[in-house]
Amino acid sequence: MAMDAREIEELIKAHLPDATVEIRDLAGDGDHYAATVISPSFKGKSRVQQHQMVYAALQGRMGGALHALALTTAAPDN
């Protein structure tokens, strides 16, 4: 089971419309991705909370259809 990078990006943006999302396919196998998500809605949230917001956007696919997504999250610099 693999996921398309565009599909991952769309899921995240559907949930966090103000986010800047950058996805890299690490192994070229559609199964190992790195994502950087920058969103103003992360402001004041802990890293764990920020990641949980992205995982929520992925609606249970993380750890399932999506085996490996290395995640970096941040609120934008002002």
Binding site: R47, V48, Y55, G63
Partner: protein, 113 residues
């Protein structure tokens, strides 16, 4: 509260540093678990490793416990710190070392060079 939840809760609260992982600290069975083991070993942090592959109910239970979909998961003094990405990010910035020290966990500062 299920037995699994009680088991996890007890492990998290009675051990200063607990890592729920795939495999053991000696033989990690997954690259992500292995990375966290390497970081903890590098810092000389005493911790307990719990192999979720030995018990399917713990493997699922820990995800429910923390509302976190992946393994490994690191806990310090009862608090969920994060998975591989967060631990690595904190280690690289030096935040993990100072956080552990603040919590009274012994951290070895490797000599430079």
């Amino acid at each position: 509260m299920s037995n699994v939840h009680a088991f996890i809760d007890n492990e998290v609260k009675t051990n200063d540093v607990v890592l729920f992982m795939k495999g053991t600290p000696q033989f990690p069975m997954c690259g992500f678990s292995g990375q966290v083991v390497q970081i903890l070993d590098y810092l000389g942090v005493p911790y307990k490793g719990i192999n979720v592959l030995e018990d399917e109910s713990v493997r699922q239970g820990i995800k429910d416990y923390s509302n976190w979909p992946t393994i490994p998961q690191l806990y310090v003094k009862g608090e969920f710190i994060g998975g591989c990405d967060i631990v690595r990010e904190m280690f690289q910035s030096g935040e993990l070392q100072s956080f552990l020290s603040e919590k009274g966990i012994p951290v070895r500062v490797p000599e430079k060079g």
